[in-house]
Symmetry: C2
Subunit: 315 residues, 2 copies
């Protein structure tokens, strides 16, 4: 069990905030990330990967909008499925190239994630997606598309942005299939962007909804589905910090679930940022996982050896 690892890759690992998002940039970033993953694979780990897709969905949303006089704009749920194909392709190719084309099967599985249609987030959405708008545009979009728009910047020309629900993931629809693939020796990329959010509608059928699922939370469920012993979250910082952003800031090397809970209660972790990552790790351990690690992409291999990052364990 200790040799099966779920890796959750942050969205910035594929398109950095200061980049435009050309294919060349993204392929280069993917190659860097896959270099670390290939190294982990060489150490004998069985690997399942999930990844963010915020920047890619953002770009697609702008493209849909700019062409809407000519071509019907696809909803967010479809844009999510498109980015699973896009990022999956880039990672699949990069991993193959790094590991030798014949040595291992690398596959991306289009993944739906079930959420509750009565999730409270559907009535009070907060997750910003897509471009920033001027007030007039915001009002127009609210009327035309029924979007919820919020003021997310205190000043400037473009202060408004669409917000969507971020419901709690309940189940990975393709979870059992991913398990079989990992059991068969494949490296599997799944639940990209937190998965494509679906509800069970009134007829009991799966139906896509415009929402965004936290990729670490969905990744945690997938980690359980595949029986991973290790949950590795790769983000922008080397480790979790106490007193984050204060002069007394201090990295945490190890913490038990109990300590993590205490720190969370004391407000050491940012809500919307490190908070949900630590929360996903706590859930993972409480549901039977061996250890969870939060670190940066560059420190991934070292962190697995306990030489970097923050490790969370039961005791």
């Amino acid at each position: 069990m200790g040799k099966r690892i779920m890796i959750a890759l942050g969205g910035n690992a594929i398109k950095q905030p200061d980049e435009l998002g050309t294919t060349e940039e993204q392929m280069k970033n993917v190659a860097t990330a896959c270099g670390q993953i290939a190294e982990i694979s060489r150490q004998g780990f069985e690997i399942i990967i999930t990844h963010g897709n915020g920047p890619q969905v953002g770009n697609l949303a702008i493209q849909q909008e700019q062409a809407q006089e000519l071509v019907p704009a696809q909803p967010l749920v479809i844009l999510g499925s498109m980015t699973q194909g896009q990022i999956g392709y880039m990672m699949q190719q990069s991993l193959r190239n790094l590991m030798g084309e014949e040595s291992i099967e690398v596959v991306t599985v289009v993944t739906q994630v079930l959420v509750d249609r009565d999730d409270p987030d559907f009535t009070d959405p907060h997750k910003p997606v897509g471009p920033f708008y001027k007030e007039e545009e915001a009002i127009q979009l609210k009327i035309e598309k029924g979007w919820t728009i919020r003021k997310v910047r205190p000043n400037g020309d473009r202060q408004w942005r669409r917000v969507v629900p971020s419901p709690v993931p309940l189940k990975i629809v393709e979870g059992k299939a991913v398990r079989k693939m990992v059991d068969a020796g494949m490296i599997v990329i799944a639940s990209g962007g937190g998965g494509i959010p679906v509800i069970l509608n009134e007829e009991g059928k799966l139906e896509g909804v415009d929402a965004v699922i936290d990729k670490d939370r969905a990744g945690e469920i997938l980690a359980e589905d595949v029986g991973a012993g290790i949950f590795l979250i790769l983000t922008d910082v080397d480790s979790v910090k106490l007193d984050y952003g204060k002069p007394t800031e201090k990295p945490i090397q190890r913490m038990t679930v109990e300590k993590a809970r205490t720190y969370a209660r004391e407000g050491h972790f940012l809500p919307g940022s490190m908070g949900p990552k630590v929360e996903a790790c706590i859930t993972f351990i409480e549901h039977g996982g061996e250890r969870a690690i939060i670190t940066s992409l560059a420190k991934a291999v070292n962190a697995l050896e306990g030489k970097a990052g923050t490790t969370i364990t039961r005791n």
Copy 2:
């Protein structure tokens, strides 16, 4: 072996030529196609599906272009990967809904298809993709993007279109993985749009190329990879015709590979249309397949029972 079937679904089955391509339209068409596929599954067949993506790539290409001042346009190879996610998601969800959510695993696999970088089509491309342009626009794009542009309409305002290579598929990169999934009892959607075309570059690494692979040709290779006994091509017509388009036009119910070759030589099948479909069927049988069928979506179930469509066999 006779119970494993490769189904190749035409692009028009998902977006019909007279439709705009809204998500609602496409979901409705996908549900119709999946109704037939679910019925085939209920009859005990093991199913692998491939599908066209021309209309979806076309729409994405227009969206990329319209937003290029704001967001970097992704190349054709990335648009192909996006449509694999998009169409895969729609089919995955529809099949689950039709077959009962828990009864069977349905997965879409992002699929690369290897082509020869020295394929003659790279120096003389003919496959039109994306929107139609005016002459000035065509010249501009030729200079800016290095595209090959051809005049594809004899008259009117927009006569020009980008053409790309359509190289011969050599190998499904994820073919072995798809085989394992089918063996494990999953319905697999793979090689969408003919697959994402890749070459082996000078360093022996996989690299995407802007090209379009014929989905029936790629589907035929995948059918061999998974050991399918039946290759079912679903297109716009109920059966292959002798003297197509002439007053003497006559549907073919059955033909041997030898007959099919003779008819092809005699020019009964349109190049670029029925020709390559019949060719893919011939290859399938010659490489060990039991029977190949060409028919329309609506006749799929009947054709499998030999009551409709055109069946091609060895003898």
